[in-house]
Structure formats: structure tokens, C-alpha cells
């Protein structure tokens, strides 16, 4: 059977097995654990102690607690990845054996955070480099060793490029003559107009 939250593929065996473990936790506590997992997916720190306390009643072993976090991570991030709405997710999880209350609670937490999750996933999508900032300066060349009276403006550009793997910015300096700079600006404005038509 195909599931949307698994990308229209079969549900992995381990997920199926862990869903039955989820059923052993009360639906109220499951919703709170969900909230913690969502915090971690959104880049905040996870409170492992809190989750351990919430799972005490269900008498889970330490391996099971980690598996619970892993399966919730899988369900929530994959549902966001494939843009599954809360109701479809709830019905698919119930098909896999999660009791109705658990599924409803889980999906309610998911729906609240769905767009933030998707924004965060969009931000960490593959990207090779990005422009951090641009600094510029306009000079006026008076004279040079080649020609006594030059009298021309010169633009100095410093592009700060951030490489995704390093996280630090790399400065890319260049000097552009007035004519070349006018052409560059015109072309960039055309590109910007094209981008605006897509937004």
C-alpha cells in the first residue's frame, strides 16, 4: 500500500513497528513529545529529560525512547516534505494502526507547525553558495603611468560570498569601469524584472 507521507511509497518496516510502540504512550503525552520533536526539527534544542519523564508511564526502555523520537522525526519531516495536510496524515497513520486520539493529537501539533517546518526545510535545501553582502566605492582616476590625464571614474565592488560547506564568507573584489558598470547594472535590472514576474 502506498502512503503520501512516505512519498507515495510503501511505509518502511521500522516505522510500522514503532507506530505500535507509540500507541503505548497516552495521547496527551504523545502530543507533548511531538511538540519537543517539532522544536528540534525547527532548530531549537531538544529536552531529552522531559521526553524521558513523559515516557515513564509507558515503561519504555531507553532504546524505545530513542526509536519514538526517530519515528516522530520521520513522520513529521516527511509529511512536511511531501506537503501532506493534517487530515490526510491522520487517516494514513490510523491505517497504519495508530489509535484515533493519538493520530488526531499528533496531526494537530503538525498542522500548527507545518508552514514553519516547510520554511526550515526550504532553508536547508541544497545550495552551493549565497551572496552575503556587497560593498562598493567610486573612485576617480586622475593620472597614471601610461597617460598623464586620465580623468575617469572607477567602481570598486566587494562581493561577500558565503560557501555552504564552510559557513565563512569569501571576499570577491573587482574593479569595474563606468561603461562596463552601466551594462552590468542594466543586465541585472532585466534579471530582477524577470524574477519579479515569477514571484
Amino acid at each position: 500500500q502506498r502512503f503520501r507521507f512516505c512519498g507515495d511509497l510503501d511505509c518502511p518496516d521500522w516505522v510500522l513497528a514503532e507506530i505500535s510502540v507509540l500507541a503505548r504512550i497516552s495521547s496527551v503525552k504523545l502530543k507533548l513529545i511531538c511538540a519537543q520533536v517539532l522544536r528540534e526539527l525547527l532548530g531549537e534544542a531538544i529536552d531529552y529529560e522531559k521526553i524521558l519523564k513523559l515516557t515513564l508511564d509507558a515503561k519504555l526502555e531507553s532504546g524505545d525512547v530513542k526509536a519514538t523520537i526517530a519515528v516522530l522525526d520521520f513522520i513529521l519531516s516527511n509529511a512536511a516534505k511531501h506537503n501532506v495536510d493534517g487530515e490526510s496524515l491522520s487517516s494514513e497513520l490510523q491505517q497504519l494502526g495508530l489509535p484515533k486520539e493519538h493520530a488526531t493529537g499528533l496531526c494537530r501539533s503538525y498542522e500548527e507547525k507545518q508552514s514553519s517546518l516547510q520554511d526550515s526545510l526550504r532553508a536547508c535545501s541544497l545550495r552551493l553558495s549565497s551572496l552575503d553582502s556587497v560593498s562598493w566605492r567610486v573612485d576617480y582616476t586622475l593620472s597614471s603611468s601610461e597617460l598623464q590625464e586620465v580623468g575617469e571614474p572607477l567602481v570598486h565592488l566587494l562581493l561577500h560570498v558565503r560557501r555552504q560547506d564552510h559557513g565563512s564568507t569569501e571576499p570577491v573584489p573587482m574593479a569595474v569601469s563606468a561603461d562596463k558598470f552601466r551594462v552590468l547594472l542594466a543586465e541585472l535590472k532585466q534579471a530582477q524584472a524577470l524574477m519579479k514576474t515569477l514571484l
Binding site: S125, L126, L128, D165, A191, L194, L198
Partner: protein, 150 residues
């Protein structure tokens, strides 16, 4: 404690190491091992001890030795993105899809990444080739070899 010089003890340890690693390496039988160490002229009791030491530890020694073999970079993960080029400086009104891949490799705990780019038809060809390679495992030729290895 052994009442001998440091050098003697060191040589003794090195000798034992060599004896055990070479024997485990070649997976020699009990009789071959016994014949080999008989030449050294030790007491029977010592020979029996050495044989027991060899038999008890050879499996573990072999698993450690297998990890010392040189390894190629192995697959760690793959990131991808699908883009469509709509216009460039030279040509507007384009539709040019491209897939960018970042292949993360693991070479002896060293993580490296290779960035590749391809168009959809090459990607389909790549997928076809990889599926063919997987399919090879199911041919009778491969199955026969796999059966004989067990």
C-alpha cells in the same frame, strides 16, 4: 617481575604477535600450527598453551586484520535539487531543467563532497544503468558465484 631485560620481553611480545597474526592470516590448521612450533623446541605444555591461544583468538584477530585493508571512499548521503533555467543574459524564454547533486562520501572518517550537475535525460540514463547493475545480482551467473562463496 619476569627477571629479564626490557629488550627480551619486547622481542618476546613481538614474536608472539607475529606468530599469532601470521597463523590467523593464513588460517592454518591445528596440526600445521603444532608442527610449526615444534621446531622451536619448547616444552609440550607450552606448545599446548600456544595452540589454545591461537585457536581461542584467531577469529577476533582475523576480524581486526580485515579492517586494516585499504578502503575506497564509501557512500554517505546524497543531496539534490531540481532547477529550471528560465532565462540567461544571452537568451530569454528558455525552459531548461537541471538536477544538481551533492554526493557526500566517507573515506576513513574523512567526509568529502562532490558537486555534480546533470540534465533529466542523463539522469534517467544514470538510473537505468544503476538498475541494470542491481539486476546483475539476480542473474544465474552471479547467483552461482554467491552460492559457492557461502
Amino acid at each position: 617481575k619476569l627477571n629479564t631485560g626490557v629488550d627480551t620481553v619486547q622481542h618476546g611480545v613481538e614474536g608472539l604477535m607475529y606468530l599469532l597474526t601470521e597463523s590467523s592470516n593464513l588460517m592454518i590448521s591445528e596440526t600445521d600450527f603444532q608442527d610449526s612450533i615444534r621446531v622451536l623446541g619448547f616444552s609440550d605444555e607450552l606448545n599446548k598453551l600456544l595452540l589454545q591461544l591461537y585457536l581461542d583468538n584467531r577469529k577476533e584477530i582475523r576480524s581486526i586484520l580485515s579492517e586494516l585493508a585499504p578502503k575506497l571512499p564509501s557512500y554517505h548521503s546524497l543531496e539534490w535539487r531540481l532547477d529550471v533555467q528560465l532565462a540567461s543574459r544571452s537568451l530569454r524564454q528558455q525552459i531548461k531543467p537541471a538536477v544538481t547533486l551533492k554526493l557526500h562520501l566517507n573515506h576513513n572518517e574523512d567526509l568529502t563532497a562532490q558537486v555534480l550537475q546533470t540534465d533529466p535525460s542523463t539522469l534517467l540514463h544514470l538510473i537505468q544503468q544503476l538498475e541494470q547493475a542491481l539486476g546483475e545480482m539476480k542473474t544465474s551467473h552471479c547467483r552461482r558465484i554467491a552460492r559457492n562463496m557461502k
